[in-house]
């Protein structure tokens, strides 16, 4: 950008020069999620790597100015690989007193606060529980403070467009965005383009938003530069060549399902019932009818999974998706899918529990439920995505396993991944091997009766027959069935055999999945830090730092949680100690100890927030001590 040359690069207020954490915080109505999203896009296009963490209240629209109505969006970006949304912000934008109060704790010592001074009115201060104005009473001395009358400056900037006061104030997020974009030298073009599209029908709003954006930007350029406001220069992150976009986990998962169905050459049937944070997948897929996607908003989660089972039975790729309480409701029907050996993908966007718990907070406390949570011996493969973009590949893998092995598959993601965004190299058609589904559509050649529970000797999958196929009429159901004919059979030997087969089929999947890799470090050493799911970023960074301090620590991140990759046991035995950081009370730990009889030690965090790198670092230090 032209302006960049004019500015004297000053050291950023953060300790690190190649990555910065910015947190936008304001009232639910202040548009912080939108501001964050636009800044994310501009940052991605500027060539930084990044990770985001939207952190919004459970209420739809909480009363203005309250503490529980604060909505925040954090972004971590820089010239290096970014794997977490950042431990502690370098910069905090606080649009009102409540936003300041709720978010101050996390701010780095010496970090920069940009506050809308116009909103620090007596009324708002009181709502936030401040006795005195923190912008004035010296209580923020540990940080750098820029108190600007943002609301006022916005009103001035948009005056020409004749908006109501309320409408005019709504553009203050654009003013702020303009300022922050100037700070980090982000291109304004993508935001301009977005504003033009969004307000195409309301020219006065379009102009006002553009004006606010530009005014904020201009203010940065022209304001007194000796204050704490500095422009940062961050190099481009190194990235594999290719075409990039940003995706949230929910986006990538939806796209992965569409791609998975295409690779399987099947229409996709998605049965779901709204629930936070799973709904966004349903929302995304509902718009993709031209890709052969049928979405069905069912009356409840039971109907949703049952309809998906029905669709799979009829030859579609049935998928269902939910969270917490909704997943609990699906467990009976999961058993039916196991018994009838039909393909099915069950997506669990984990959130804080127990019960209704913390609907908008993240957690990984449904792993043991996924592996063990059904009546009977009822094995189901379990996969987990580790990051927003990873959701794409994991969704495809779930489709592959479900159709190839005729089995339900549970895919675990979580509230953090679902909402967080990161740059994603758009895959092309050669990145994934097709796995066309094979339907049995002919009776046996020799006139022998057709056996719906005859099995493929390699995968142990039973044949998939679409009702409607002449000559293959048969019946299935949830009662134990003869190991060949599929007719009801309660005999002792048959049940023993079928139980064994159901286990062997799922255990055997281990032979058809990639060997466990080491995410960072040697395949041996003093300590393996073993994780799964969305803790990938903090664990990787923490291990990186520990290694930088010379420790023989490696990071292993498991995608296939049931069955485990065949080499996992041997790999783990190559380490003296095993540490398992999880956002639960120690669930992967249970699986590892049971399976490999190794002294895997849990490191638990159950606060509804992702791990901080420093927390994992400290746990590593303790573990190797």
């Amino acid at each position: 950008m032209a302006t960049a040359a004019k500015i004297d690069p000053a050291p950023p207020p953060s300790a690190s020069h190649d990555a910065v954490v910015v947190r936008f915080a304001g009232d639910s109505g202040d548009g912080m999620q939108l501001t964050g999203g636009q800044f994310t896009l501009a940052t991605a296009i500027a060539g930084n790597d990044l990770a985001t963490f939207p952190d919004f209240p459970a209420e739809i629209r909480a009363p203005a100015g309250t503490l529980f109505g604060v909505s925040a969006f954090q972004i971590h970006f820089g010239a290096t690989d970014i794997e977490t949304a950042g431990d502690a912000p370098d910069v905090l934008i606080a649009m009102n007193p409540a936003a300041l109060k709720v978010n101050l704790d996390g701010l780095k010592p010496g970090g920069l606060i940009i506050a809308d001074a116009a909103e620090f009115t007596e009324r708002n201060l009181k709502k936030a529980g401040y006795a005195a104005n923190p912008l004035e009473d010296g209580s923020l001395a540990r940080w750098q403070l820029m108190a600007l009358p943002i609301s006022q400056m916005t009103l001035d900037a948009v005056r020409p467009f004749g908006l109501s006061n309320k409408e005019a104030l709504r553009t203050k997020n654009m003013w702020t965005l303009g300022l922050v974009m100037w700070m980090f030298g982000r291109p304004r073009a993508p935001v301009v383009q977005w504003i033009e599209g969004r307000f195409a029908g309301r020219p006065e709003l379009k102009e006002a938003n553009l004006a606010a954006l530009n005014a904020g930007h201009a203010w940065g350029e022209t304001a007194e530069l000796s204050g704490p406001l500095k422009q940062f220069h961050l190099g481009r992150a190194e990235a594999e060549p290719g075409l990039y976009r940003t995706v949230t986990g929910a986006d990538a998962l939806s796209l992965g399902l569409v791609a998975g169905a295409k690779l399987a050459e099947l229409p996709l049937f998605f049965g779901s019932y709204p629930i936070t944070p799973a709904s966004s997948i349903l929302h995304a897929l509902a718009r993709l009818k031209e890709f052969g996607v049928t979405t069905f908003q069912a009356e409840d989660e039971i109907a949703a999974i049952c309809a998906a089972i029905g669709a799979s039975y009829a030859g579609h790729l049935g998928v269902t998706s939910s969270s917490g309480p909704g997943i609990a409701l699906k467990t009976e029907a999961m058993g039916l899918a196991v018994m009838t050996e039909l393909p099915l993908v069950i997506i669990n966007s984990q959130r804080g529990g127990p019960s209704t718990g913390l609907p908008t907070k993240t957690e990984q406390s449904d792993l043991t439920q996924a592996v063990f949570g059904r009546n009977g011996d009822t094995p189901i493969p379990v996969l987990a995505a580790r990051s927003p973009s990873d959701c794409f590949a994991v969704a495809i893998e779930a489709c592959r396993i479900a159709t190839r092995f005729m089995t339900p598959v549970i895919l675990l993601t979580d509230g953090y991944i679902a909402n967080a965004a990161e740059p994603w190299r758009v895959p092309d058609r050669h990145d994934f091997e097709p796995f066309p589904a094979i339907f049995c559509d002919q009776p046996p050649a020799d006139g022998r009766p057709f056996n719906p529970y005859a099995r493929d000797p390699v995968t142990l999958a039973r044949p998939w027959v679409k009702p409607g196929t002449p000559g293959l009429i048969h019946r299935i159901g949830g009662l134990e069935k003869s190991h060949e004919t599929g007719n009801i059979d309660y005999s002792a030997a048959n049940h023993q055999k079928m139980t064994a087969i159901r286990h062997a089929k799922i255990d055997g999947i281990a032979r058809f999945i990639p060997a466990q890799e080491v995410a960072l470090g040697e395949p041996w050493g003093r300590l393996a830090v073993v994780g799964w799911g969305s803790t990938y970023g903090p664990i990787l960074k923490a291990v990186e730092r520990a290694r930088a301090r010379g420790h023989a620590v490696s990071h292993i991140h498991i995608r296939h949680l049931h069955p485990f990759p065949e080499n996992l046991g041997a790999l783990l035995r190559g380490f003296e100690r095993v540490l398992v950081p999880e956002m639960n009370m120690g669930q992967l730990k249970v699986l590892l100890r049971d399976r490999f009889l190794i002294d895997a030690r849990p490191f638990s965090k159950v606060s509804g927030q992702p791990f901080r790198i420093a927390e994992v670092e400290a746990a590593i230090e303790e573990a190797i001590a």
């Binding site: 991605a44 976009r245 031209e290 890709f291 109907a303 799979s312 009776p443 046996p444 099995r455």
Partner: protein, 345 residues
């Protein structure tokens, strides 16, 4: 894995009742009303010109829900109460299939009431046969939601006190567009009702009174009995006056109290007898609510007033929403703003 022969001819052929009987041994109690229903269904299928390979019977759990095993069609014996939900997935995935749901008073109205409600309001094209024996057969005779007040069962040793659901009334309340009622041994009329249900596009709700010889024997006898039939059964026919007892009695509307009334039919009173209009929802409610034996039991097609069926509307919306759109996955993946990272020079 089974080896394959060259494709069989897939064209529908005419069938005989026997073609609809599977090789599975029928496992109901001797004398169970389910046998009669099975027979009637197997006898009716050929007359519908249906194709066994394109027919799917879907059921929940219960004695009644064993039905699919005995039909030589595709069959899915699912879990308790959930057959309507599974059927919805099946039919949305392949609207070409003839979907029949078989359920019981427990399966359909106790645990499964909610799915029944939503099936009916959505109006998925299928036939739903509710075998109402006013008891839980399979689990050995507990009271069901249709059991009459005072029924003594292992769970209600002092008599049942939950006021029973009226299945047809519930169905109407849920928005059903086709409601019929018949009983197991009505071997003449049952097939006719099944034909009407099959012909109706949308969810055809058919309540079939079914005798459980073991746990609730004879509860319907008072009106299903051959001798009682003329005075106790009112078989409805669209466009025909509501007559019974060999035409000697009929139903009329007490226009003051806005209620139905039984009258002796004479040439003078005949014009007062209501003519059955299947599309009149209010009269359907009244017919269903008639109390036996003060009134006869209304049987046959009580209500039929079609609306577009769910899977049709879904298909129409898909057609409209996708018109002119190309399913370009590569383009989809690139949607939104993108940027290029070029290989290092």
């Amino acid at each position: 894995m089974n080896e394959m022969t060259p494709p069989a001819a897939a064209s529908p052929r005419s069938t005989r009742p026997d073609d609809w009987a599977s090789d599975q041994e029928v496992r109901w109690c001797p004398g169970c009303g389910d046998y009669a229903i099975l027979k009637a269904v197997q006898r009716t299928m050929p007359e519908l010109g249906a194709d066994p390979a394109k027919t799917v019977f879907i059921s929940g759990i219960g004695c009644s829900s064993r039905f699919p095993y005995y039909m030589e069609t595709y069959g899915f014996h699912t879990i308790h109460g959930r057959a309507p939900a599974i059927a919805t997935g099946v039919k949305l995935a392949n609207p070409e299939l003839d979907v029949w749901i078989v359920t019981g008073d427990g399966d359909g109205l106790s645990i499964g009431g909610n799915h029944m409600l939503h099936l009916l309001r959505r109006n998925l094209d299928c036939q739903l046969l509710l075998f109402n024996n006013e008891i839980y057969g399979l689990t050995k005779g507990q009271a069901s939601p249709t059991s009459r007040l005072g029924t003594r069962t292992p769970t209600t040793p002092f008599g049942s006190i939950d006021r029973p659901v009226k299945p047809c009334e519930f169905a109407l309340g849920a928005g059903a567009r086709f409601v019929a009622r018949t009983f197991d041994t009505a071997q003449k009329q049952l097939p006719e009702v099944l034909k009407r249900a099959y012909a109706h596009k949308g969810t055809s709700f058919v309540e079939i009174y079914q005798n459980c010889v073991v746990y609730n024997d004879g509860v319907f006898e008072a009106f299903t009995d051959r001798k009682a039939a003329p005075t106790s059964q009112l078989w409805l026919e669209h466009g025909q006056p509501m007559l019974f007892a060999g035409g000697t009695r009929g139903l009329t509307l007490d226009r003051e109290r806005l209620m139905l009334e039984v009258i002796e039919v004479t040439p003078e009173t005949l014009p007062r007898v209501i003519v059955h209009d299947e599309t009149n929802r209010s009269v359907a409610h009244m017919l269903i609510n008639m109390n036996f034996p003060a009134f006869p039991v209304a049987l046959g097609v009580i209500y039929c007033d079609p609306r577009p069926s769910f899977e049709t509307v879904v298909a129409e919306q898909v057609a409209k929403a996708t018109a002119g759109k190309v399913a370009d996955l590569a383009a989809l993946l690139r949607r939104g703003q993108t940027w290029e990272v070029s290989p290092p020079a």
